[in-house]
Symmetry: C2
Subunit: 715 residues, 2 copies
């Protein structure tokens, strides 16, 4: 139990860090009246959107909570509500600081590049630490209550269900937030660009463009709030499912089990400390901006390694004692599987778990490195897209698609190697700990990501407030690395999702055996219902992606019409004599995003339930369970590729445009640049709407399946 | 054995139809000297390319044949050579007639639309019937020799291996032909468009463009020869693997087995007759051109149904006798699987098989209908892309990508329903017969597809020879439906591949038990090595697609440079006073296509072998077999979506451009048209290079795995 307290203390430290750093940021000068005016408009729009979004989600949430209350009881419902509310809080608070840091970053960038970097990164770090801190507090606190005052054994079914429901709450909010925010940000961005840059021939972020405030609002509600909710979800699901799997799979004494189940919490705790330390290492020095951010990341990662060792050894006591031993269960067969490695069958030690976590950290580092390669302007992929832009729009898009397809290869190999290695070390539990170690760095990774929208906004404010050109060029430089850090987070989230999916599937099969001991389910690939599940699961990311892309296209079209209307009705706007109605555009995008997010978000909730009942009707319950289980893996097998290709490809397109704008291939205004703008526009919904929302979608499908089993057993 | 003779007779009839119809086409007037001159240049280029391509493939083929001879013996090597040679012949002969029909179609279109349609369709029908006829003759003839003069039992291991090797030969050639031809055609097409239409501002098919002959050569070597080799492969693999599965899975008396194994041959035979009858139904009447082609398709499909009933009842004797019965085996467990439907466990009747084949025909019809919906100019998808073109290049591509993602949904549902229904009726064998019935219509489907490049070429010749405008408008009308028919064939091939993959996996598991009775392989989704195989299998289509897209982009860039060079060195070309050097461009594209096709084509050959040996080394033989098996399904689970999205999306982009050219959204020359040209360019390598080559890639991966098992057992 001491470990749980340790974790909670670390969680509180993270939240305190957030409060103190917020105060630090807010103490800085918010610039002149014009800048504050613009920032206020962005704040207002962001608050209005999030208010509307959370109201809509709350309605869905209440319906789901009632269903949970009726089927799974109070404890699960409470878990669901905690997860949902904290996911919302993480996003809301992140957005709140972000819309205040933007103007302060612009102001600080007047002074120096370092000043802008510090302000923007501190704001990102607030969001990052809140995501990790609140996530850890949620799980640790809930677990503490259940096993302490609640008096339950750590592997009590009620705890398993309650932790699952907690994860479900977080996931449900995050898919709405990711998708709604993603549609908002890209509809505004694409719409503003089309009608402003392309049609009216005015620069990006020109205050005469009525969609310009909506565009800046979008950065905050999509890239900041949506992303924070998503990573909160990933954090909670990963740590939660690792704990649940230990409870389900390991047969050990109560004390041994308690030690092992609290280890993910301890690891989460110490890595928060390492992440906080890392935030102080972000400094420009002689290197690049990316280099400064990497200093922070690598400091956290390298510090984490000894801290994880200490946490493991402290939590488990003896690093060499064999855990599980002959009692280690294969999730599917209740026995040692044919082909399972000897080590997994014979149990594992603390040292084995430490190595699994080291592998998890290595995966994170490799994904950062690979994403940098595929989206950075210094390497072949981005350069090849820039070069292809010389021969036109078509070849730019062809090369971008080729890169997006190619960019899936190395991450897949890394994940596959990690799966094999950690499974050899400690079976399914080993895979879970690798994912836990990946997510333990979430504080730092989210900080890097949340830094992006702040600098993007700062650039917009600098432009709109008419600050000197060198300020804009500083914010542009800060913003450029944002494409890579954003792609990094998404690759990281989906990579961890691939590992977590295996653990979730293990939980599914174990639940199945517990709840339905008389039903023999054949998960073999020879079973056609398994293939049916795999195919339909694989379809979900495609259909979901189609919805997301269409929604952005449609909403962006509406923005174009609206802005054209404003230009037509009020010619003073273009002459600069009258102010456009920014609020009407924000409102239009808000309504479009809310409307468009609902159906696709419900797709992964409804699909597993429908599949189970249809197949059960046609071919019996065992086939229904087999198809449902296969759907869970189908969605990750296809979703991994859809998500990575979209997020890396989109980042590469964006940076190819920036590479040309830096003076290559003819620079700004050249034909190559026009082609690169097309690629950038295509990449927008790819990387910021459809691609990133695949991650929470995968989790929801899995968690709904777990809850369905519990509900069927209870019903 | 009478059935085998029937099938061989039908095969001979198909070949005779091909010879007679060829003669009919060749008797028509080849037009004036200028037209003949142009046609001769295309013929020469196509012949030169195919000659070079086949030489390269022959080198690979000889190496593979030597390996097969050393590991699997003479019979398999002979099978491999037959498959490879006939696949090459189908492509070569198809190309030969196609490059002669093009000029005759242009000439006939001077007279009337019906004249052009008849000539082009007849030429397509020659290719179609040769594909089906040679395919059927290859399998039936080989099977006849082995079971007749060879004196072997129908389920002798040697027959199984020899049929598998026959399929391998066909697949290996077809992946090279599909990919090499696909790279050729799209590199020439994209390159010619970029440098001609976009840069120099001259129309498509303008004789001053040095890449114009290469573009027309590409239609023949890619869309005709490559496609024919691909469909020949699909035909042989599908019928072959259905027969192999019967041999492996059904325990019945020799005579009963012989009847059942020859049933796919009989079905193939009668459907050739139905397809020939269908070719005579293609007539314009009062309807559209598409309607005329559909008349042929539906006539074949509807005639096939009673013919299949007759063939089944004649071959099996009693339609109600239970086949398999208690002896029906589940491929994985040697027992009745949990969750398997009662009918499959209890055996099946001839009537059950008939219904499975009726479902196969229904799947074909539905895929035609769905593809028409997604690529036809009359429906929402194409119209939505055309509308999105109004707001620019970016929104055109976004909407096109959204449609390409969405277009996977309905075909997947159709396939899933077909899998469930046919499995309920007759287990894995039922799925095999559904795929067989799909492919039995290959003669007609290939005829519709091979019609396309002929009309495309006819338009080019009309333009280059300066024929009156109404001729060009007639050939354009004929060409427009080609986008849909081309997309149909690809959807059909990949759909049948999904069904065949299940049957191939059944063969894999059965082979595994036969060759390695002591190794217990766990194909459960709980086994991490299964996940590893699924993920790496799913990666293959992505990586392969990336290679294909990059190759087209690179080769098209080379074409642009070459043509720019010719314009620079010889200003007389643009003035029309001197003739461009067409041959040099053809030669350049030829070398590029051959060079670029090799590595990606070897990817699916090498991947299963490498995966097996690596995993075996790390985690033992059973894990290696599990990962390998999972790779086979991973490649179809992901390949199905990659292929459908690329081929339907590409067709939709192309027709959105045509829809605008028909006068919508501003028509030719408008901004919307320019955006639509970008989408069309992007769709080109999607639909004609990367997408269609996924089908043979899936087959090769599967067949290599089967041969690897045989080789390991023999070694």
């Amino acid at each position: 139990m001491t470990t749980v307290y340790l974790a909670m203390v670390c969680g509180v430290i993270a939240v305190l860090y957030g409060i103190l750093t917020s105060a630090q940021v807010l103490r800085q000068s918010p610039g002149d009246a014009r800048m504050q005016d613009i920032a206020a408009a962005i704040q207002e729009g962001a608050k209005a959107y999030l208010g509307r979004q959370y109201t809509t989600i709350a309605i869905v949430g209440v319906v789901v909570a009632v269903i949970l209350l009726a089927t799974l009881g109070t404890l699960s419902t409470v878990g669901f509500v905690i997860g949902a509310v904290l996911s919302g809080v993480a996003g809301y608070v992140g957005m709140t600081i972000s819309v205040r840091a933007n103007v302060r970053t612009a102001e600080a960038a007047r002074g120096s590049l370092q000043g802008g970097l510090t302000t923007a990164f501190r704001s990102g770090a607030v969001t990052g630490m809140l995501v990790a801190g609140l996530g850890l507090l949620a799980i640790a606190g809930f677990f503490w209550y259940l096993t302490g005052p609640g008096g339950r054994a750590p592997n009590d079914r009620a705890i398993v269900e309650a932790l699952t429901a907690l994860a479900f709450g977080a996931s449900l909010i995050s898919i709405f937030a990711r998708l709604g925010g993603g549609i908002f940000t890209k509809a505004a961005d694409v719409g503003a660009d089309l009608v402003g840059k392309v049609e009216a021939g005015i620069p990006e972020d020109d205050p005469r463009n009525p969609a310009v405030i909506a565009d800046n609002v979008g950065d905050n509600v999509g890239d900041c709030a949506g992303m924070a909710a998503d990573l909160f979800e990933t954090y909670v699901v990963t740590l939660g499912v690792t704990m649940v799997s230990i409870a389900l799979l390991i047969r050990a004494s109560g004390e041994e089990l308690m030690r092992l189940m609290t280890l993910p919490l301890a690891v989460g705790g110490v890595c928060i400390l390492a992440s906080i330390a890392g935030t102080y290492a972000v400094r420009l020095g002689r290197g690049s901006i990316m280099g400064a951010l990497y200093k922070g990341f690598w400091t956290s990662a390298i510090l984490s390694l000894p801290l994880i060792w200490l946490a493991t050894s402290w939590t488990l006591g003896d690093m060499h004692a064999v855990i599980g031993g002959a009692g280690f269960l294969d999730p599917a067969t209740d026995a040692v599987t044919a082909g399972a490695p000897a080590t997994a069958a014979a149990g594992f030690t603390g040292t084995d778990l430490f190595w699994c976590m080291a592998i998890g950290l290595a995966v994170t580092g490799l994904i950062v490195w690979i994403t940098e390669y595929y989206t950075g302007t210094a390497y072949r992929p981005v350069k090849s897209i820039a070069r292809a832009s010389e021969t036109g729009h078509g070849t730019n898009v062809i090369q971008g698609l080729a890169i997006s397809l190619e960019s899936t290869a190395l991450p897949t190999l890394v994940i596959v190697i990690a799966v094999v290695a950690t499974y050899q070390l400690a079976g399914i539990i080993g895979i879970g700990f690798a994912a836990t170690a990946m997510l333990a760095l979430a504080g730092m990774v989210v900080a890097l990501d949340a830094y992006g929208p702040v600098t993007d906004n700062a650039g917009g404010i600098a432009e709109m407030a008419g600050l000197p050109d060198d300020v804009r060029s500083r914010t542009d430089a800060l913003d450029a690395v944002g494409n890579t850090t954003k792609a990094v987070t998404k690759g990281y989230a989906i990579g961890s999702a691939a590992l977590a999916a295996l653990v979730l599937f293990g939980a599914y099969t174990t639940d199945l055996r517990t709840y339905f001991p008389d039903v023999t389910v054949d998960f073999s690939l020879s079973n056609p219902y398994v293939i049916v599940g795999l195919l339909l699961g694989a379809l979900l990311p495609y259909l979901f992606g189609a919805f997301g892309m269409t929604a952005v296209g449609r909403a962006a079209g509406a923005v174009v019409e609206e802005v054209r209307g404003q230009f037509r009705d009020n010619p003073g706007i273009m002459e600069g004599t009258s102010r456009p109605n920014y609020g009407r555009t924000v409102d239009l995008v808000t309504r479009a995003a809310i409307r468009e997010m609902i159906v696709p978000s419900l797709l992964p909730v409804a699909s597993p339930i429908i599949l189970y009942f249809v197949i059960k009707q046609v071919a019996g319950q065992a086939s229904g369970f087999a198809a449902l289980g296969a759907m869970l893996l189908g969605v990750i097998v296809s979703g991994l590729f859809v998500a990575i290709s979209m997020t890396s490809g989109g980042g590469a397109w964006d940076n190819a445009k920036k590479f040309i704008e830096d003076g290559n291939h003819g620079g700004k205004g050249s034909e190559a640049h026009k082609a690169a703008v097309t690629g950038d526009t295509v990449g927008d919904p790819y990387k910021d709407t459809a691609g990133p929302a695949v991650n929470p979608m995968i989790k929801i499908t899995n968690i709904v399946a777990l809850l369905l089993l519990a509900a069927l057993a209870a019903g």
